[in-house]
Amino acid sequence: MALAVLLLLGLLLTGGAYAMFTNSASANAQQVSAQDIAEGEKLFVANCATCHGMNAEGSENGPSLIGVGAAAVDFQVGTGRMPLQMHGPQAARKAPQFNEEETAQLAAYVASLAPGPAIPDDEYLDPALGDPAAGGGLFRTNCAMCHNVVGSGGALTRGKYAPSLSGVSERHIYEAMQTGPQNMPKFNDASLTPEEKRDIIAYLDEINTMTAPGGFKLGSLGPVAEGLFIWFFGLGAVIGLTVWLSARAK
């Protein structure tokens, strides 16, 4: 018993230290070699520099990336938003153009320029460790006004929109909160602690993996979808019945 308690204590302590370490801005949990950074720089110059400048200092086509950190690059490149294909109200998610390794190299390069948010540690990404109910409450107060209560997405002004959150990986959810891509606000560790971010991840995981209790969800878009459904299918079927019943036997 004593051994177990000791073990637990030890785990908690190292875990805590680990967390402090990974959250301190510059360091990165993944081992980063000088070679990664060099490869990253090459990729950057070839693919990103036209907009973000030769040294990521920014240009009129794209903001400076100095200090955005590995997390921002991992999110933007990992969700296919960067490299940007065309200027519009908002960079849309698309199939990523770089593999895991290249993404990590790009992230390492940008992180080497100046300290910034690092790629989150796995410990904060595991839905099993989070509390989905607490996460649901946090989600409703912080995220639902843009993303809808179950993350089905919603419109913002002038063609911008908060995308649907189903099928987004835990890491990208965390990084989105941490870096606030484009029109999304940033939720730093003071406004949502890493544990709270994990609760949100647990909530999204829970509602995205469960089978809807009531049947087909109609996109979880709420009363508008329900209204259209009853007019087109419900009333449509009813009118079909009336026509059938009042057809004369011929």
Partner: protein, 553 residues
């Protein structure tokens, strides 16, 4: 009982006889059973309203046994994981209980909600059918008024029910109602405090809405439905213009056995439809929304469809409509929703009387108008439908914007434009279409149906072979009322009153563009001419009616 009635022999027969000799039900049944009900699909829409209402009452009764309209706070400990430990009201908790723990609870909840949506939808198109066919005309104006009452009550029934579960979505809806009430000048705040028992949201509103939702509103609906149906029996049902249907008869099927059997079967079909929808399609997943809390608002917060148009008005009304009088804000941008809703109900209520006044038509009408034969009424109706649709779509501008990758701001400008011009365009287009269809009817009645077969005669002339109509089909095309423009008339003192001047103007608006029904003489002349011949085209391809005059187009 007449002496020829055979004595009952079976047990059921004896029981029936026992009951009948005491209640005299057989006379009533015989009398009612002989009523005739014309058969047309659109005449069954009222029935659909009735059946879906019955289903909603049945399922709702089941829900009352388990729903708890109270605001006591507790921590959820039921099976739905993403809410475990969350603080919520008893009302919300009992809704979750019904959904996840009560046997059949979720199915019944979904049937209640799908049934309610279908009910209001059925009432709405039933009303449209009554409008577009002119079934509201004398002697049925009063029943139309009863109908308007039912329409308003069905909205109220739906809205009060939608608010009961005390979830985030419905709470946001109530918040809007609170805002609308508070926008009423001078008394708004007092009314809001009175309704909510203090500052919004308070703890009284759910139980008050519950009383309205399960008692007062359904009782009023049931009373009005009873009156409505008695009126339908007393006035007898209207019928379509058809050879043999006149203002003095009703052609159709007797209530017993045909209509009643069909109707009874139809009830179960509607029941099955609602049960089927509810078994497969989720509706109002309250567990998604979480308990009500005044601070969060979700994207995509919308009311049920029948309140959608009011929400749409609020969304498209520009902010500058709010102004100040002596420092007091007058929130016209919000009040406009109330004004339009009340205005629409009042407009519906007065329409039958307005139309009768304009046309100076005080006759009874038991034969319906085909919508094309009342072009102005039909066009006004379609314009209203389009206007309603614009407001309705306004409520879902955010979803439309995302779906079509458009800017939400542009959506609002488009809706504002359509709010004013949509109905006008719809009016003009519909009226043109109606007049066109009437001309086409006239043509067909005169010259028969086009067969598409073109013959070339030996001397080079082309004719299209037309097939004459049988008298039954022809009747429908020629036998209809077509009121004419009656200019303002002077009264006995030789004066034209202001009201009469207005009547004259409206009459012009209604009846100036008119395609007259065929006269008997025209019809006979055409028949004489058409005997055995085709329809002639002259060298330029213009229609000729045989006297060298181009036909009216």
């Amino acid at each position: 009982m007449s002496t020829t009635t055979p004595e009952p022999t079976t047990a059921v027969g004896k029981a029936a006889d026992w009951a009948d000799t005491r209640m005299g039900a057989s006379k009533l049944v015989r009398e009612f059973g002989r009523k005739i009900f014309p058969s047309h699909w659109s005449f069954m829409l009222g029935e659909v309203s009735l059946y879906s209402f019955i289903i909603v009452v049945l399922t709702g009764t089941y829900l009352t046994f388990f729903f708890y309209p109270a605001m006591g706070e507790l921590h959820y400990d039921g099976p739905y994981v993403p809410l475990q430990g969350v603080e919520m009201s008893q009302a919300y908790q009992s809704t979750l209980y019904i959904s996840f723990e009560l046997r059949g609870g979720l199915l019944i909840r979904q049937m209640h909600h799908w049934g309610a949506l279908l009910f209001v939808a059925a009432v709405s198109i039933h009303m449209l059918r009554v409008f577009f066919t002119g079934a509201f005309r004398r002697p049925r104006e009063l029943n139309w008024l009863v109908g308007v009452g039912l329409l308003a009550l069905s909205w109220a029934a739906g809205f009060t029910g939608y608010s009961l579960p005390d979830d985030l979505l419905s709470g946001n809806g109530l918040r809007i109602i609170d805002g609308i009430i508070k926008a009423i000048p001078l008394v708004g705040t007092y009314i809001s405090f009175f309704l909510f028992g203090g500052e919004f949201p308070g703890i009284d509103i759910i139980s008050r809405l519950y009383t309205l939702h399960i008692m007062i509103i359904p009782a009023a609906i049931i009373a009005l439905i009873a009156i409505h149906l008695i009126f339908v029996v007393v006035h007898k049902h209207t019928q379509w213009p058809q050879a043999g249907n006149t203002e003095r008869n009703v052609v159709g099927e007797p209530v017993l056995p045909t209509f009643a059997a069909k109707g009874g079967g139809f009830f179960f079909l509607v029941f099955a439809l609602i049960a089927g929808l509810s078994a497969f399609f989720q509706i109002n997943p309250v567990w998604n929304y979480g308990p009500y809390d005044p601070s969060p608002v979700s994207a995509g917060t919308q009311p049920d469809w029948y309140i959608g148009w009011a929400d749409g008005i609020l969304r498209i009304a520009p902010g500058w409509m709010e102004f100040y009088i002596f420092g007091w804000p007058i929130s016209m941008n919000i009040l406009v929703a109330v004004i339009i809703m009340v205005g629409v109900l009042v407009g519906m209520a007065v329409w039958p009387f307005f139309e009768a006044w304009v046309a100076k038509d005080n006759r009874e009408h038991h034969v319906l108008d085909r919508p094309r034969n009342a072009p102005t009424r039909t066009a006004v109706g379609v314009a209203f439908v389009v206007w309603y649709l614009v407001m309705w779509a306004g409520a879902s501008g955010d979803l439309i914007a995302v779906f079509f990758h458009m800017s939400l701001n542009d959506m609002i400008y488009i809706f504002r434009f359509l709010f004013f011009f949509g109905p006008i365009i719809a009016y003009i287009v519909t009226k043109r279409i109606c007049l066109g269809l009437q001309r086409k009817d006239r043509e067909v009645a005169l010259h028969g149906r086009e067969t598409g077969r073109i013959l070339r005669l030996p001397h080079g002339e082309f004719i299209e072979v037309h097939e004459p109509l049988d008298p039954h089909s022809a009747w429908r095309l020629v036998a209809f009322d077509s009121p004419e423009y009656v200019p303002a008339q002077a009264d006995e003192n030789g004066k034209i009153s202001t009201a009469e001047k207005w009547r004259g103007r409206f009459s012009k608006f209604f009846f100036e563009d008119r395609v007259a029904p065929l006269s008997k003489a025209e019809l006979e002349a055409a028949h004489a001419h058409n005997e055995g011949h085709g329809h002639h085209l002259d060298s330029e391809g213009n229609d000729q009616d045989g006297q060298g005059r181009p036909l009216p187009h």
